[in-house]
Amino acid sequence: MKKVVLKIDHLKKSFGNKVVIKDLDLEVYEGEFLTLLGSSGCGKTTILRAIAGLDPVTEGQIYIDGKDVTKLEPKHREVNTIFQNYALFPLMTVEDNIGFGLKMKKVPKQEIKKRVHEMLELVHLLGYEKRKPKELSGGEQQRVSIARGLINNPKVLLLDEPLSALDQKLRKNMQLELKQLQKKLGITFIYVTHSQDEALTMSDRIVLLKDGKIEQVDTPVKIYEHPNSLYTAQFLGDSNLFQGIVTEVGKEYTWVKVEDTMIKIISQEWQIGDKLDIILRPENIKISLNEETENVFQGKIIDQIYDGASTDLIIKVDKKTINAMYLGNDKLYNKGQMIYITWDIEDAIVLKREPYE
């Protein structure tokens, strides 16, 4: 059994009469990398600030290591925050910035110096001790801010979109670095982002939020391959949606009528008459020039989009636009060419249509 380091119990938060977080429960395990993922306005930053103690909560409790910290000031919580804009103290040197937390705890000067040195080594910034924040690049400032949080050895490190201000390449590097750092130190990270790439690459678990509620909590693989709602499926990764009705239920396979075509899916607890959403990821769609026997649609290539290492295909099937892709950048098809699309039966993500939709 993994140890719960942070527990959120029936958290509610409203600003004025606008409810941002509606009754949220969450358990975070020791040493895990948990990502709060969602579009802007879903409340992910609000949750982070509630954990940090920067904003009071409206209702509910927050426990860190079993201790109720809901009413405690930030300085009495064993968590540290990495702010989106780094929030480095502009007039202090790198050294003083990183040592600030320890200084507040009245750790002896010699000890601070030693720990700051260790931290600088950890984030590859040795030799930067005497510089001021404005003399550093964005990536370097971010490292300083991470070191400034980590030096306090928090129970949980909260990161609020820490990489969003960096350019693509640097962001990729920092993603890997952060992940390695987290593994090495074994500190629990709660990471807020709106980027599904970041979430999928770095997390042990992803919490997908929608309108202040948890939509799904799972590992990246599960949440991508087995989303439990259409929202999750469409938020993470690209998807092609077919909607149909179950017409025949067999022991192994179930038949679904989509428009005029019959589609075969693996049987689960479907019943005749169920309305289903069938989701296909672009990378699972196969293009064929010959008509296959089952699970096939005829389509027309509308466009091929060069994407460096891969190529995206836009295919028109009846009135629907389907996204597909293949690795490599050779031009395999012509615009306007008629092709057939198909897929492996186990690659289809099937969800029962939510009744209110």
Binding site: A52, L54, P74, A87, F89, P90, F100, G101, K105, N152
Partner: protein, 284 residues
């Protein structure tokens, strides 16, 4: 000369003329006559002498200097102590509320400060409003003497000069990003630690600017000393005024003025030597 240049000069001309005619020229004149000799009838003899500057170091005048600096210094410190909590509180308010509050700070400027000083007389004198209220409620049994003494002078000085501390300090404090204060508290700093470690260093330019704008006039606001000090005290302002208007010793008055200018310049120079930027003083 290009057209652009002509226009530039055209628009700058009023300012240049204003500064040259009304500030630079009179100052040069003051500097010039500070080296003259006065005659017995209030006139001046245009011979070069540094006697006026030697006279300034007479014990009587040195004590006036020290007293002035003391009063101006205490005024400045009181203004700082009042302004910091005020501007920090204001900066946390809604932007609209901030605007209203800061406008209120400037409202007293709409009335002549001399008239406002007479207003204080009504409040502070033995039979004044404050004493009447305190006596009436039984908090005190004897009226407090709030004027014609140093507390009275300080009340007047602080009252008149407070906006000059609040305004630059406010613009300085409002440049501090709120997330810096959050970061400090996240890292374990108490409110007081955050104030001294983050807010004060970041608002030093505003603090200095405000101090300069309070300290310098406080050396010279003779009307406050005259009204609320009851004419019993002498600071640099009265001294200069007396030399020009009563003693009619213009060269000596000019010499004291020049020394006052020098003191102020030295303070600014020290600020720059300590790493302050002149830009921060202007815009703060």
């Amino acid at each position: 000369m290009s057209n652009k240049k002509i226009w530039k000069i055209f628009f700058l001309a009023p300012i240049i003329i204003y500064v040259a005619l009304l500030i630079a020229l009179p100052l040069c004149y003051i500097l010039l006559i500070s080296f003259f000799k006065s005659d017995y009838y209030g006139g001046m003899i245009s011979t070069f002498t540094i006697q006026n500057y030697i006279d300034v170091f007479d014990q009587v005048y040195v004590s006036v200097f020290l007293k002035s600096i003391l009063i101006a210094g205490i005024t400045t410190i009181i203004c700082i102590l009042i302004s910091y909590p005020f501007v920090i509180a204001v900066s946390h308010k809604h932007p609209r509320t901030q605007k209203i509050l800061m406008t209120l700070v400037m409202v007293p400027f709409l009335t002549n400060s001399l008239i406002r000083m007479y207003g204080w007389l009504v409040l502070l004198r033995k039979s004044g409003v404050i004493n009447q209220v305190l006596l009436g409620t039984g908090i005190i049994s004897e009226p407090l003497s709030l004027m014609y003494n140093i507390p009275g002078i300080l009340i007047g000085m602080v009252y008149t000069l407070l906006p000059f501390m609040i305004l630059p300090l406010y613009s300085s404090v409002s440049t501090i990003e709120p997330y810096l204060l959050e970061a400090a508290s996240d890292l374990g700093a108490s409110k007081i630690k955050t104030f001294f470690k983050i807010i004060v260093p970041q608002t030093l330019p505003g603090l200095f600017n405000g101090s300069l704008m309070v300290f310098t006039p406080a050396l010279g606001y003779f009307f406050i000393i005259d009204i609320l000090g009851g004419g019993k005290m002498m600071i640099l302002g009265n001294l200069i005024k007396n030399q020009f208007l009563t003693a009619r010793n213009w060269p000596f008055g000019a010499a004291i003025s020049i020394i006052l200018v020098l003191i102020t310049s030295l303070i600014i120079l020290a600020y720059r030597k300590l790493g302050g930027k002149m830009d921060d003083l202007g815009g703060a």
